[in-house]
């Protein structure tokens, strides 16, 4: 989680450095009175690297995917909370077949 955050910050720093390099390149073009046809190669490489780092950070930082299957291991409920006054069991979950052969964790 923290590693992803720092990778994201590094990617954003690379992008801002690439932007600054492009500004300097344009100033140079203004002196030589050329037209801006495309960014220099090292700037494009830096942008691609920044994109890859930010993509990795953008996928890992927001959090993991949680399983939605009701019978996967992490979704099992093996103990009830102690507040039994408000718990009802007379609901639609009665209609599900019971998985009696599962062992306790």
């Amino acid at each position: 989680m923290k590693l992803g955050f720092f990778v994201g910050v590094l990617g954003v720093l690379l992008l801002s450095h690439a932007a600054y390099s492009t500004i300097q390149y344009r100033a140079l073009l203004k002196i030589t009175e050329d037209e801006f046809t495309g960014a220099p190669i090292h700037v494009i490489g830096e942008l691609i690297l920044g994109l890859v780092l930010c993509l990795w950070a953008g996928l890992t930082v927001p959090g993991k995917f949680l399983s939605i299957l009701p019978d996967s291991d992490e979704n099992r409920v093996v103990s009830l909370s102690s507040n039994m006054d408000f718990m009802i069991f007379n609901h639609r979950g009665r209609a599900f077949p019971a998985a009696i052969d599962l062992k306790l964790k």
Binding site: G11, V12, L15, A18, A19, T22, I23, R26, F36, G38, A39, V43, I44, L47, G50, L51, C54, L55, A57, G58, L59, T60, P62, G63, K64, F65, L66, S67, I68, L69, P70, S72, N75, R76, V77, L80, S81, M87, F89, R92, G93, R94, A95, F96, P97, A98, A99, L102
Partner: protein
């Protein structure tokens, strides 16, 4: 019934009870939030890159769709390509939120283009 408590809600879709596509809605909403955050962040980054490279008009929008496609592939890889254990259909990963980041993309695109090429 053992195995269910109050906080996890199941959803019934068909009449036959033995092969219902039920899933844990709370986790599914959490997964949708993760996708939304990822797409928004990648739209912003794509906007900055499009501005720095000097893309104009159609090229910029094509670049946006390219960045969104790359994000979709990245999200599918994050789910391990077994999408059905985290979402209820492929459309959630591929199409959902595709156009939601477009406004953020255009904002940062014009911002970066202005900073680099005009000012």
């Amino acid at each position: 019934m053992a195995g269910h408590d109050d906080s996890s809600v199941s959803e019934k879709k068909s009449n036959d009870i033995s092969d219902l596509p039920t899933f844990n809605v709370e986790n599914m909403q959490s997964n949708m939030k993760v996708i939304y955050y990822s797409r928004t962040f990648m739209s912003i980054i794509g906007g900055v890159i499009a501005g720095v490279l000097g893309f104009t008009s159609l090229m910029g929008f094509i670049f946006y769709f390219l960045v969104m496609a790359i994000t979709s592939v990245g999200l599918a890889a994050k789910a391990g390509f077994s999408v059905h254990s985290y979402f209820d259909s492929w459309n959630r990963i591929i199409l959902d939120g595709f156009l939601g980041g477009l406004m953020s993309f255009v904002l940062f695109w014009t911002f970066a283009y202005d900073m680099v090429h005009i000012f």
